[in-house]
C-alpha cells in the first residue's frame, strides 16, 4: 500500500489530479463564500454543539452496529456487522449531510435551499432539513424519476418543498443536478445548494465527506467495544460516494481492506451499468475532474442501475484518488446480485435494505465466504428498502 503524507484536498479542492472547480464563473464567489463559511463553522463550538444535538435527538444517532448472526452463520465465513444507517430519520444516511448543510445555510444567512434528487432520498432529507431550519426549499428531479418515485415526490411536498420536474436530457439525476446548478447560478444571493453527495465543485466533496464521516467514527468505536479490535474489511456501495467515504474515512490510516461497490447493472459488457471505474475514464463533469462514463467525444453516457441512488455517470473525486493510492478497491454488483441480496437480508435478518445498500450486502456475501470465521466485516447499510418494495414487486411480476 502506497502512502502519501499530503493532506487532501488542497485549498482549491484537488485530491491529487482529481476534484477542483469546473463551474461557470458566476458560481465562483458562492463557492468561495461557502468554503470560507464551512471552514469557519467546522471549528465553531456552537455550530458543532447544535449539530451534535440534532444528530442525537433528531436523526437518532448513534446508529447501531449490528452483528448479523443469521447471515454470518448462513455464509459460514467472516462475522458480518451492519452499520445501521437505515435507522436514521428519513431512512438513509443522506440526512447526516442534509441537516448539517441546512444548518450551515441558516448560519450563512441564506433563506432558501435547493437540491437535486434521483430516487428522492436526498430530496426528502433536504426538505426535512429545510422544514426544521425554517428555510424555503426547492428540489429538482428528473421527470422520469418523478414517475418512478411518486411516493417520495409526495413526501417532499408534504414537507413543504417545491418539487420541480426536469424534462430535458435523460430526465434523471444528472439533469436534475444541471438544473440545480442553473438555479444556483441565478439565485446565489439568497440560496444555498445542498448537494447530496461527495461530488461536484470544491468544497462539496470535502464538506459532504466530513458531514458523513460520523458513520465511520461511530463504527470504529463500536467495533472496538464489541470485538476489542478493528475489522478486517469494510464494504459500502458507491454512487456519488458519500456513504462509503463516510464509513471509510475514519479507517484510512488503518491497514484495513476497503471495498467500494458500484452498480454493475446488466453487466459491464452490456453498456447498461453505472460502474465508472470498471467502464469509465477520467473526465470533467458537473464541477470536478473524476472518473466518468463518456463516449469518445466527451459526451456523457446514459447509465443504468436497478438502484436509482447508484445510477450516476460519475463518482466522487476522492474515491479516484484513494483508488489510485490503492487504499480502496472498487468492484461492482449487478442488478441481479443486488436483488438477491435484497431478499437474502430480508429473509435472514428481517432487515429490508435499500437496493443501493443491497449492492454492498451482495459483495459482503462473496467476500465473507472466503474469510476465516474469526475475521470481521463491516457493511454500511446506508438506507432502508421501504422505498424499493414496489419496484422489486414489479420486477418479480407481482401486482400489489
Amino acid at each position: 500500500m502506497k502512502n502519501t503524507g499530503e493532506k487532501v484536498p488542497d485549498n482549491k479542492g484537488h485530491f491529487g489530479q482529481y476534484g477542483g472547480r469546473f463551474v461557470p464563473e458566476t458560481l465562483m464567489p458562492a463557492l468561495i463564500e461557502l468554503d470560507k463559511a464551512y471552514n469557519k463553522y467546522k471549528k465553531d463550538k456552537n455550530f458543532l454543539a447544535e449539530l451534535v444535538l440534532l444528530q442525537k435527538d433528531y436523526i437518532g444517532r448513534q446508529t447501531p452496529l449490528y452483528l448479523a448472526k443469521n447471515l454470518t452463520e448462513l455464509i459460514g465465513g467472516a462475522k458480518i456487522y451492519l452499520k445501521r444507517e437505515d435507522l436514521c430519520h428519513t431512512g438513509a444516511h443522506k440526512i447526516n449531510n442534509a441537516i448539517a448543510q441546512s444548518l450551515l445555510a441558516k448560519k450563512m444567512g441564506k433563506t432558501r435551499i435547493i437540491a437535486e434528487t434521483g430516487a428522492g432520498q436526498h430530496g426528502v432529507a433536504t426538505a426535512t432539513g429545510a422544514a426544521l431550519a425554517g428555510l424555503q426549499c426547492e428540489v429538482y428531479m428528473g421527470t422520469d424519476d418523478m414517475k418512478r418515485q411518486s411516493l417520495n415526490v409526495f413526501r417532499m411536498r408534504l414537507l413543504g418543498a417545491k418539487v420541480t420536474g426536469v424534462s430535458i436530457g435523460s430526465k434523471t439525476l444528472k439533469d436534475a443536478i444541471n438544473e440545480a446548478l442553473r438555479d444556483w447560478t441565478a439565485n446565489v444571493h439568497n440560496t444555498h445548494y445542498v448537494l447530496g453527495t461527495a461530488f461536484g465543485p470544491h468544497p462539496y466533496p470535502m464538506m459532504v465527506r466530513d458531514f458523513q464521516s460520523v458513520i465511520g467514527k461511530e463504527a470504529r468505536k463500536q467495533i472496538l467495544k464489541a470485538e476489542g479490535r478493528l475489522p478486517d474489511c469494510l464494504i459500502a456501495c458507491v454512487g456519488g460516494g458519500s456513504n462509503s467515504i463516510g464509513l471509510f474515512y475514519a479507517f484510512l490510516k488503518d491497514k484495513i481492506r476497503m471495498i467500494g461497490v458500484e452498480a454493475g447493472g446488466h453487466g459491464i459488457r452490456s453498456g447498461k451499468h453505472a460502474a465508472r471505474f470498471a467502464g469509465g475514464s477520467i473526465g470533467v463533469f458537473q464541477g470536478c475532474k473524476s472518473y466518468l462514463l463518456q463516449d469518445k467525444d466527451g459526451n456523457v453516457l446514459g447509465t443504468h442501475s436497478v438502484s436509482a441512488g447508484l445510477d450516476y455517470a460519475s463518482v466522487g473525486p476522492e474515491h479516484c484518488y484513494l483508488r489510485e493510492l490503492e487504499k480502496i478497491e472498487y468492484t461492482y454488483a449487478t442488478d441481479k446480485e443486488a436483488l438477491n441480496a435484497f431478499e437474502l437480508l430480508s429473509n435472514t435478518e428481517g432487515i429490508i435494505p435499500a437496493l443501493e445498500s443491497a449492492h454492498a450486502v451482495a459483495e459482503a456475501v462473496k467476500v465473507a465466504s472466503s474469510m476465516p470465521k474469526k475475521s470481521i466485516i463491516i457493511v454500511n447499510l446506508s438506507g432502508r428498502g421501504d422505498k424499493d418494495v414496489e419496484q422489486v414487486a414489479k420486477i418479480k411480476g407481482i401486482t400489489l
Partner: protein, 256 residues
C-alpha cells in the same frame, strides 16, 4: 495582433461596437450552419461564436439546451465542428470563436485540441465551465499557438477575480450580463454599469457583453457600456423555428 483583437482595434476610433452572434453548430445540420455563418457575416456580424454541442450544457438555458440536443442527434462532435470551420475558412476570414464545454476538450487532449483548432482556423475559445484557476495547461498551449482565450466575468465576480480573469483573457473579456444562464431576462441597471466600469479600471482589454440580450433595443443599451455585444438564444430560437435570421441580425447591427 490576433484577428479578434484587430476587430476591436479597428473600432476603437470609429466608436462602432462589435456584433458577435452565436449559433449552435449542427443545428439543424452542419450544412445549414455553413449557410448561417455566411448569412451572419453578410448581415453585419464582426465575429462568429459557434457553439459545440455537449450532453450537459450547464451554463445554458432551455433554448440552447434544445439546440445542443438537436445537434447531438445529428451526431455532431467537436471534431466535426473543427472540420466545418476549416471548410468555412475557404470562403471567409471572419474571426470564429468556439464555445465548448471543457470535457470534450479534455477528452480530445488539451494540447492536441488547441493545435487542431488553430489549424482549422479557429481564432478563440470560450469554455464556460473552465475558470483560469484550473486552466494553466490550456492557457500555456493557447499562448504557444496564438489562440485567444476568452474567459467569462460575472456580475458576482469580486475585484480579485476581475483582476485574475482580465489577466487570463486575450482577444476580449466576456461579461455575463446576468446572474444566470443564457437566454434569461436581462436587466441593465446601475449595478451593471458599476461592474463594467470596475472592469475597465483594471484592464484596457475589450469587453463584450452577452447572456440575455434578445432585442435590438437591449443590444443598443448594452453597446453603450461595452465594446461588443453577443446575441445567442434569440438567434438560435429563430433558427429552431425555421425563420430567417438576416433581418434580425441586420437590425442588431444597426442598433449598435
Amino acid at each position: 495582433m490576433s484577428n479578434i483583437s484587430l476587430v476591436f482595434d479597428k473600432f476603437k476610433t470609429s466608436g462602432r461596437k462589435a456584433l458577435i452572434p452565436y449559433i449552435m453548430a449542427g443545428d439543424p445540420t452542419l450544412a445549414a450552419t455553413k449557410k448561417y455563418i455566411s448569412a451572419l457575416e453578410q448581415a453585419g456580424a464582426d465575429i462568429i461564436e459557434l457553439g459545440v454541442p455537449f450532453s450537459d450544457p450547464l451554463a445554458d438555458g432551455p433554448t440552447i439546451q434544445r439546440a445542443a440536443e438537436r445537434a447531438i442527434k445529428q451526431k455532431v462532435t467537436l471534431r466535426k465542428v473543427l472540420k466545418l470551420v476549416s471548410e468555412v475558412r475557404k470562403s471567409t476570414d471572419i474571426p470564429i470563436i468556439l464555445m465548448t464545454y471543457y470535457n470534450p476538450v479534455f477528452k480530445f487532449g488539451v494540447s492536441s485540441f488547441v493545435k487542431a483548432a488553430v489549424k482549422a482556423g479557429v481564432d478563440g475559445l470560450i469554455v464556460p465551465d473552465l475558470i483560469p484557476d484550473e486552466a494553466d495547461d490550456y492557457i500555456k498551449e493557447a499562448r504557444r499557438h496564438k489562440l485567444d482565450t476568452i474567459f467569462l466575468l460575472a456580475p458576482t465576480s469580486t475585484p480579485d477575480r476581475i483582476k485574475k480573469i482580465s489577466g487570463a483573457s486575450t482577444g476580449f473579456i466576456y461579461y455575463v450580463s446576468i446572474t444566470g444562464i443564457t437566454g434569461s431576462k436581462l436587466s441593465a441597471g446601475p449595478k451593471m454599469r458599476r461592474t463594467l466600469s470596475s472592469i475597465k479600471r483594471v484592464t484596457n482589454k475589450p469587453v463584450a457583453v452577452g447572456f440575455g440580450i434578445s432585442t435590438p433595443e437591449e443590444a443598443s443599451s448594452m453597446s453603450g457600456l461595452a465594446d461588443g455585444v453577443i446575441v445567442g438564444s434569440a438567434i438560435v430560437k429563430l433558427i429552431s423555428q425555421g425563420k430567417d435570421i438576416s433581418h434580425f441580425v441586420r437590425a442588431l447591427r444597426k442598433a449598435i
